[in-house]
């Protein structure tokens, strides 16, 4: 499962709710929690952070998201020391935005090191990959053919 504890960080080895969500995303069954008002959020949640509603349902994430902003990180934290430079992006997937690392831009698992593979508005799909530094699981975005 997750392996944050092996990274030398202080994060616990398991985060119920989050870990299951990441498992689902890895299985291409990613979901958002949605309240009756249509507000999206990510687990674990007991109430909608926007309106307080407690009636939250799991709704499948759309296959395609849209990049809203991104950055090319050159100075990483230790958990990403062997990954830098890398691209982190924020993309809208239906009722939620996800934050992830852009990957597989050249079709062979390569990493986008200069941000040329995407721009704001690009279509991406979300999945789960590993940090090069320590193998920790991370949300990744893959540019889609358009």
């Amino acid at each position: 499962m997750t392996d944050e504890a092996e990274s030398g960080g202080s994060a616990p080895a398991a985060n119920a709710g989050y870990d299951e969500w990441l498992d689902a995303l890895a299985a291409e069954e990613g979901y958002a929690l949605v309240c009756p008002e249509g507000h999206g959020s990510l687990p674990p949640r007991r109430v909608c952070p926007e309106c307080g509603a407690s009636d939250l349902s799991e709704e499948p994430l759309p296959a395609e998201g849209t990049v809203e902003t991104y950055t090319v990180v050159h100075v990483p934290s230790p958990r990403f020391s062997d990954d830098a430079p890398y691209v982190t992006a924020v993309a809208q997937f239906g009722p939620v935005r996800l934050t992830g690392v852009v990957r597989e831009v050249d079709g062979d698992g390569g990493v986008d090191v200069d941000g040329d593979a995407i721009e704001v508005g690009s279509a991406v799909e979300a999945g789960v990959g590993e940090r090069e530094t320590d193998g920790g699981r991370i949300v990744v975005f893959r540019p889609m053919e358009t």
């Binding site: 991104y70 950055t71 100075v75 982190t88 924020v90």
Partner: protein, 388 residues
């Protein structure tokens, strides 16, 4: 409500002091504040102390009693933590305590020790102000988060790295005469543009440095100031705080900071002023884009227009509304848990006329301090006015 006065202010020199302990840094700032105030430290009834990452940097939790000892006060002492707004919230609670009549004298401020960590350690320490599960694990660093906001701003409103470089150049120029500033060196727009990338589109000179330092304020009631014949001419007339969703991705607008709007609205209402009444401001420019977002949230510029304020000279030392005459976080430095207190210390001296940059604001009567935590999930705004 009791009127709150700033009786005295104290800072350490901001900079790189990797060998100095946190307790020594705060002791120096507190000592200066009591001396500046002419207040006996035995009169302090509370200590409100801000600190963010002391557990990582010094392996030291429970810092408030330690800092009470260091400052030589024996009174209830509490540590406040709101990331880079830690001292802002500590000061705000001190203001509320005095205003409510619960104490006549409160020592407030903060300390951060950072340069004893290596760059990776400091980067990791700062990143914990973001959502660990959904942001930090996806590679978001502190500069990276503001870079995401900068690109979103450019997409929404236009603007360029050159506009941001003007913010850096302005704040470095302001820091030149400030004896407490970390960087007292000019940076040209060209040098800022040519500096290496940290998290594109932000480069090294878009970012504040890693800094050690402490700030302290002696806040008193107007009655106490009068009874003790203190020279306490600056009043804190408004305080406000705002909170937003923790993760940047969960904000409706990636290029705006509504928590700071909420904080400013509350502070302005309490003071009975509006943004047009403000003569100068210290804002939380941890990155150049942060100053742009701050002046828009404070109502000094319309959304999308703050990007041009430094380039057009509106916020320069001789502009209509000087912003960050101290040098800001960018050049003065950013010991994160001390910054909110240092902003009020700088503004107090600017209003009193004993700051090296007071000559730029000789008739100023109203000043605003804006202190932010994380990607402005926390914001604190204070209004200072010349009371007499």
């Amino acid at each position: 409500m009791t009127e709150v006065r700033v009786a005295g202010v104290g800072l350490t020199r901001f900079g790189s002091h990797p060998e100095r302990t946190g307790r020594d840094l705060f002791a120096e700032a507190a000592d200066r504040a009591f001396a500046d105030a002419g207040v006996d430290r035995d009169d302090a009834e509370e200590l409100n102390y801000g600190n963010f990452m002391g557990a990582l940097a010094e392996h030291q939790g429970h810092q408030a009693p330690l800092m009470a000892e260091a400052a030589g006060v024996r009174c209830p002492a509490t540590r406040y933590e709101s990331a880079c707004a830690s001292a802002g919230v500590a000061v705000r609670e001190a203001v509320r305590t005095v205003a409510a009549g619960d104490a006549d004298v409160v020592l407030a401020g903060g300390m951060e020790r950072m340069t004893n960590l290596d760059t990776g350690g400091a980067t990791e320490g700062l990143a914990i102000a973001a959502d660990d599960l959904f942001e930090v694990r996806a590679g978001v660093t502190f500069p990276g988060a503001y870079a995401l906001m900068a690109r979103a701003y450019f997409e929404a409103h236009g603007g360029s790295r050159e506009d941001l470089a003007h913010v850096a150049a302005k704040n470095h120029e302001n820091a030149l005469p400030n004896e407490y500033a970390q960087f007292r060196s000019e940076v040209s727009v060209e040098e800022a543009l040519d500096s290496p990338p940290v998290a594109e589109p932000l480069h090294l000179f878009d970012a504040c440095p890693i800094t050690d330092g402490a700030s302290a304020l002696v806040l008193v009631s107007a009655e106490y100031a009068a009874e003790n014949d203190l020279d306490a001419s600056v009043a804190v007339t408004g305080t406000g705080q705002g909170t937003d969703r923790m993760a940047l991705a969960d904000r409706a607008d990636l290029a705006a900071t509504p928590a700071a709007v909420d904080a400013a609205t509350a502070a302005y209402d309490a003071a009975g002023i509006g943004p047009a009444d403000v003569d100068l401001a210290e804002v939380h420019d941890c990155f150049t884009i942060a100053e742009v977002l701050a002046i828009e949230a404070l109502g000094f510029a319309e959304p999308g227009e703050g990007i041009a304020a430094a380039r057009d000279g509106y916020t320069t030392a001789d502009g209509d509304l000087p912003v960050n005459l101290s040098g800001g976080l960018k050049a003065k430095g950013h010991p994160v848990g001390a910054t909110g207190g240092s902003q009020i210390a700088e503004l107090t001296r600017l209003l009193r006329g004993d700051h090296p940059n007071s000559e730029h604001v000789p008739d100023a009567e109203v000043a605003v301090a804006h202190n932010a935590g994380g990607t402005v999930a926390s914001a604190v705004v204070h209004v200072l006015e010349v009371a007499e």
